[in-house]
């Protein structure tokens, strides 16, 4: 809880620091504070603190996910620093917007009231609408910003409409109250329509098919760092919010919701993976790969029983860490080659051995090949689906793992092919490479000793 308040204050503070042109120093404030937040979160463990008369509930689920997004944003800030201090005069506004967005993310993972859900989504998204267009002189960036804003506003409106209907049917915004009445709502038709509309809003935010059309364009057009931020923080917090909505709001999910989520999950997997095969642009590839990962996480949500929260948390952790690493390496290569294509990664293991090897490991992890974190992420999701008797979903998911491996393998092939695209050495600061090595080791560790991160949310 303290995290939320302190981060909001920190955002305003960082904005003010911009007045004094201390751009190299602001990070020295931001990172210790963020790490302090993780520590505060760990102190609140298993206390189930309720705040603001039931608006927010910091249960273990909320604490785990907020710690995850805070840690991931620390990594982003380190990567941002290098990039922005080289290219821009003023960066405090960007940092402040990222921090505000993070505040929205924390609201999303901890809300216990649907008004807070809506506020969280807006706080998370509005800074990103701005940041997506922050590369002002680039048409694609402007397009991305406009598209994201229009589509996002539309989705938020639909979700708000859904929330209003749920209120109408249950007379409450509170998740607990709703769950009590979800068996016999006053107006079942209104209630179910409300849930359907709210789900549409969620599916838009997580980029699930058929609400995924904005994802590739926005990812491609936005500045790469912001793309990475969207791909990790936004997706993870939106998934946590969706899980909370279904798990706390309508527990004992009706067959009809389970089946519709199952269909959407399978559809998302196929759309994401089959579209990814043809991509030549790295960011578009990551966009479609992100869509397919959303499919796997939807399976975890569909299971929604014992171990589902753990599976979702493990998947989100593994996904967020590998994405940070892949984007960091790509950004660094792009600085040298000026290219956005996958081809620009050719021969990376020769021009930058450390980053090349890390990229290969990260890609294998994304493809779900043991002994890397991505394998166990998929494993925990699938075991839940098997236990809840969704064998068909598992078969489709397993087929998609193979399709996924195919396009990740293409990137691996590019990275180890010779001759190198950029013949001179590709380097970066020790801190920057430190982040890459950190996430790679983390996903290796998740694959060798997954036991450390499972069972903590039960």
């Amino acid at each position: 809880m303290a995290a939320l308040i302190i981060l909001s204050i920190l955002g305003v503070l960082v904005l003010m620091m911009g007045l004094f042109h201390v751009k190299n120093k602001s990070l020295l404030v931001i990172i210790p504070v963020l790490l302090g937040m993780v520590y505060l979160n760990s102190n609140e463990w298993s206390k189930d603190a309720i705040w603001f008369s039931g608006m927010l509930k910091f249960d273990n689920f909320a604490l785990a996910f907020s710690s995850l997004i805070i840690v991931v944003s620390v990594l982003w800030f380190i990567l941002c620093h290098k990039h922005y201090t080289e290219n821009f005069k003023a960066i405090e506004d960007t940092y402040a917007l990222l921090l505000f967005s993070l505040v929205g993310g924390i609201c999303l993972v901890s809300y216990h009231n649907l008004t807070m859900l809506f506020l969280g989504i807006e706080i998370l998204s509005i800074p990103l609408y701005i940041l997506a267009g922050s590369n002002r002189n680039n048409y694609l960036s402007n397009e991305a910003s406009l598209k994201y804003f229009l589509m996002g506003a539309f989705a938020s409106a639909i979700m708000l409409f859904g929330i209003a209907m749920i209120y109408g049917a249950t007379n409450s915004f509170d998740l607990h109250e709703i769950s009590l009445k979800s068996g016999q709502p006053y107006f079942p038709g209104l209630f179910y329509t409300g849930i359907a509309l709210t789900l549409c809003g969620f599916l838009f935010k997580v980029g699930a098919a058929p609400f995924h059309f904005w994802v590739p364009d926005v990812y491609q057009g936005s500045p790469s760092l912001i793309t990475g931020f969207m791909a990790t923080i936004v997706k993870v917090s939106a998934f946590a919010a969706l899980y909370r909505f279904l798990n706390l709001g309508i527990p004992g999910l009706d067959e009809i919701w389970i089946n519709s989520i199952a269909i959407i999950a399978v559809l998302t997997l196929f759309v994401g993976n089959l579209s990814a095969i043809q991509q030549t642009d790295f960011k578009r590839l990551m966009a479609y790969s992100g869509i397919s990962h959303a499919g796997y996480m939807l399976i975890a949500i569909m299971v929604n029983g014992e171990g589902a929260a753990d599976a979702l948390f493990f998947y989100a952790t593994s996904y967020a860490l590998t994405s940070v690493g892949a984007f960091a390496i790509f950004l660094n290569v792009k600085k040298y080659t000026g290219e956005y294509s996958i081809e620009s990664l050719r021969g990376l293991v020769y021009s930058a051995p450390l980053q090349g090897v890390c990229l290969i490991l990260l890609l294998f992890s994304m493809a779900g090949i043991p002994p890397l974190g991505g394998f166990f992420a998929k494993y925990f999701v699938l075991i839940g689906a098997v236990k809840s008797q969704h064998i068909y979903v598992v078969v489709f998911a397993v087929i998609n793992t193979v399709i996924g491996a195919y396009y990740y393998l293409r990137v691996v092939n590019t990275a180890i092919a010779s001759p190198a695209f950029h013949e001179k050495k590709i380097r970066n600061s020790a801190l920057y490479e430190g982040v890459i090595v950190f996430v790679t080791l983390a996903s290796l560790l998740l694959g060798i000793l997954p036991g450390q991160l499972t069972g903590i949310l039960n």
Partner: protein
């Protein structure tokens, strides 16, 4: 002592040789491989045949889902560990330390060794799957980096094909796991899974897809010949000598005992496929012009017979199958070793361009002859004992199956001897330079392999006695149903 030491030696060799370069890297890799040979011989020799699982190591791995890091060997696994470790130095010696990034090659080969050893040792289904996949990544990178011109398409096909099989195996493992009364992955609980026959058939389908693609049985073999031909020879040795044994081992250790109720339904089909592969591989080998492709198809044929022997699941068939897995590893690696020597010396492995090598390289020709004869199962060589037992086992199952299986020896003799004649005999007018004979290192390697071939041919009981109790306990598992 437990078998974890063997795994750790391979892993340590892999890590450290990655950080050295050239000759130093090679020496370190060789040292690690030779230590492992000594350890494997020690394990095999001091194994108590009737003692069940030995040299075990067990520790908690993922307690929340009941997965243990549990490894150990019985007679069968010890034999395969021995085979893997004996073959590794041969593989490593054929990697040229002057090649660019050769240190990575050594590291990957040893990493793959660790994965394959893990497959043979694992007593936990999840660990088994993990090692199964672990063995795949290194060989993929090896072929991609050091293979021939058309490797990219081939190797991607190979990877996707094998991954496709193994993810379905994962599906089956998950299904059994979710049905167990107390969810865990230990092999004993998997053996007593209590699934109905219909469930077992589906589960067996998932396991089999992984195994038959790896072995491979027709019609899942289309990745094989191209991959063997395009891979660098050390990679081909790893694939044909050791990796395909993972599939055969899977059949006898995971498929039949885990899903015994599916066996009566599925085995006739599988035995049919295996025997079809025997004929198909033999006939195709007959007309190959490339030495490596010919050996690939001959391997397809021989392995089909081993698979058939394992699938009939009687004592003769099983012991012949296990023994012949060992023998096939030794022989096929020897043959690919010689094929690579020929390629090195003449610059081609295209058979019509070869001939008359015997004139200047009698020792090379002589060792090649022994390997060829072992491959066609001449008495006194190890191939004879293995194939004889296999055919005896298949004969018990069905006479006509044995007749078809027996054809492998006749067809095999024809194409292997023809191949020998075309490459070694005749005049060497074709070559610009004189073909040099074996040097000390090559003589030593081939000498060792030939000693093993003759030793097993003369004293097969040395191996058969050790694996006998393990095989009997396997046959008992299915008889209780």
């Amino acid at each position: 002592m437990n078998v974890l030491v063997i795994l750790l030696v391979a892993l340590a060799g892999s890590v450290f040789s990655a950080f050295l370069t050239g000759k130093a890297s090679k020496s370190l890799a060789m040292i690690s491989a030779l230590i492992n040979v000594a350890l494997a011989i020690y394990v095999f020799n001091s194994l108590d045949p009737t003692g069940g699982l030995q040299f075990t190591y067990r520790s908690n791995w993922i307690p929340s889902i009941g997965a243990f890091f549990h490894i150990g060997v019985d007679g069968i696994a010890a034999l395969l560990v021995l085979m893997t470790n004996i073959l590794m130095p041969v593989v490593l010696l054929r990697i040229d330390s002057k090649r660019t990034n050769s240190n990575i090659f050594y590291a990957l080969a040893l990493l793959m060794q660790a994965g394959m050893l893990g497959v043979f040792m694992a007593q936990d289904a999840l660990l088994f799957y993990l090692c199964w996949e672990l063995a795949l990544i290194p060989i993929y990178i090896i072929i991609f980096l050091w293979g021939d011109e058309n490797r990219v398409k081939t190797v991607v096909k190979f990877f996707i094909y094998t991954l496709f099989g193994s993810v379905f195996m994962l599906g089956s493992i998950l299904y059994i796991y979710s049905k167990l009364p107390s969810p865990n992955f230990s092999i004993d609980s998997f053996y007593n899974n209590g699934l109905s026959q219909v469930e077992q058939i589906w589960v067996a389908g998932g396991f089999l897809l992984a195994f038959v693609i790896k072995i491979p049985l027709i019609p899942f073999h289309t990745w094989q010949a191209n991959t063997y031909t395009q891979a660098p020879t050390s990679g081909t040795m790893l694939l044909s000598g050791i990796m395909l044994k993972m599939g055969l081992f899977g059949l006898l250790k995971w498929y039949i005992p885990v899903t015994p109720l599916a066996v009566t339904t599925l085995n006739p089909i599988l035995i049919g496929l295996a025997l079809a592969g025997v004929l198909y591989g033999g006939v195709l080998a007959f007309n190959q012009k490339n030495l490596k492709t010919l050996l690939a198809y001959s391997s397809l044929s021989h392995v089909g017979l081993i698979a058939a022997g394992i699938l009939v699941f009687n004592y003769d068939g099983l012991s012949g199958g296990v023994l012949q897995m060992f023998n096939h590893g030794i022989i096929v690696v020897g043959l690919f070793y010689v094929a690579d020597l020929i390629l090195d010396r003449t610059g081609t492995s295209y058979i019509p361009e070869l001939g008359g090598i015997r004139q200047n390289a009698p020792a090379l020709a002589a060792s090649f002859l022994v390997l060829t004869l072992a491959s066609v199962s001449l008495p006194l060589t190890n191939g004879f004992v293995g194939e004889f037992l296999l055919l005896a086992g298949i004969y018990d199952y069905n006479v006509w199956a044995a007749v078809i299986g027996g054809l492998t020896i006749i067809i095999g003799a024809t194409y292997m001897l023809r191949m020998y004649q075309k490459t070694m005999l005749g005049l060497d007018y074709r070559f610009q330079k004189v073909i040099t004979d074996l040097n000390t290192e090559e003589l030593l390697v081939l000498g060792c392999l030939i000693v093993i071939i003759l030793f097993v041919g003369l004293f097969p009981n040395y191996i058969l006695d050790t694996i006998k109790p393990s095989i009997e306990s396997l046959t008992q598992i299915t008889q209780t149903y």
